[in-house]
Symmetry: C3
Subunit: 184 residues, 3 copies
């Protein structure tokens, strides 16, 4: 009989969120009240709060309503990038977003995975990097460990499971290259 | 070296939301409190509010909880159509929904796009039309400019990037025709 | 001229939610305040409330924030299973979740469908069963009537339209078998 997963043996004690329990609790409620909750449509307060909790955020960054961010101290955003409505940055480890990046509405960045080959279903975390000029389309998902190289595009509702080459457009689930991106 | 997008040069000043800043602000909070917020499960108040802000809504329309609507004055819904739970109508421009249309839970109508071939990443808006009897499945997405002709069906989590022919069923991302829809 | 759907003739009066209107109303607001609303990050209160409303929930079950559950009295969860953030269990009929099951963030279980071949667009409900050790990936969708057999895996954003074989991994929309799952 094949082996079976046993989540009672799951052990993620090796994982460090790089912040105290108190800081994480304060961020949890800040995220709920000012980010997930769309009551505050203005971007400035959100950028201020992200920096207060340790994020590096460049100039002219726009944070739309209903954004969900796991840990701001593991987030870097360059200049004039846009974080669209309902974007979910689930950054258990570092997420680096370059300049002039657009994350469209409902996009998701996933950094956590599980080892489905183990009984203990071990947590696997891998960082994500979105280089300058990248565009992640509405409801698209970037999986753990993926680097989207400069000016790559991921279309609506697609899933990037591997690195995206620079100046190329990817579509599908898993996403495959469909054409080059030329900028005039 | 290839050209790079520069979102500091983004200029959408040509775009008109067809309403004053005050009206948009009032709608923003009405949407947050009575639509996105699921606290009000009843449809009648929502239909009343949509009409108050300029939507054309027919008889017997059902609006489920947690719906997100960008601009009601750019929305037309015929008779006895259903707007399901967590449907997101992101109508920067006109969205026309016919009669007996079903938008299932989590479906999304997208009217905004960007010109990824330009340094300035120009906003592109295109209207959406869902003709009578159309069914947009759960979590499916209709992209800008798409017309779903009479009684077309888009299956769960699929993405319509082009017009859908009447009485046909589409699936996948991008969606392709899989079979005819016959109604007895 | 082909037949047309007429939602004014929709009749789901045969359907029973297996609870009184009062109980459903109480659950509706409990779900809104303590489940959908992420203000309560702790799992224990949620397990207590689910049991209070008739769910069968085993030991060591974890319920993350922003979960949306239709009817707890139609829900069974085994031991040490995880219901991830923003999981949506739309159980108009019975959903059975075994032990050591992981529903990742944003996953959706759909039990309702419509007969698109009928003018009356009849409601069709079918139960879902997730056997022990199953993993439903982030934003993946399980369609009505599907059984995911032991230790099956559905990848990120995929859609299970048919039963998944035990110890196999499925991907895509609709999901197809991509490889075996071996557990060491």
């Amino acid at each position: 009989m094949p082996n079976q997963t046993d989540l009672s043996k799951y052990d993620n004690s090796w994982y460090s969120p790089k912040a105290s329990g108190i800081k994480r609790l304060f961020w949890y409620f800040t995220n709920v009240v000012f980010f997930i909750n769309p009551i505050n449509p203005f971007s400035g307060l959100k950028v201020f709060l992200l920096k207060l909790f340790g994020a590096k955020v460049g100039k002219g960054v726009v944070i739309k309503p209903s954004v969900n961010i796991k840990y701001p101290w593991l987030l870097e955003i360059g200049d004039t990038s846009w974080i669209g409505e309902k974007v979910w940055i689930d950054n258990l480890v570092k997420v680096e977003i370059g300049s002039n990046v657009c994350l469209s509405q409902g996009a998701m960045l996933l950094t956590g995975n599980h080892d489905f080959k183990k009984i203990t279903f071990d947590l696997i975390t891998k960082p994500i990097k979105l280089e300058n000029g990248v565009w992640i389309g509405a409801k698209a998902v970037v999986c753990p460990g993926v680097t989207c190289h400069e000016h790559a595009v991921l279309t609506v509702n697609s899933v990037a499971t591997r690195d995206l080459d620079s100046y190329n457009i990817y579509s599908g689930s898993p996403a495959t290259k469909i054409k080059e991106r030329q900028i005039f």
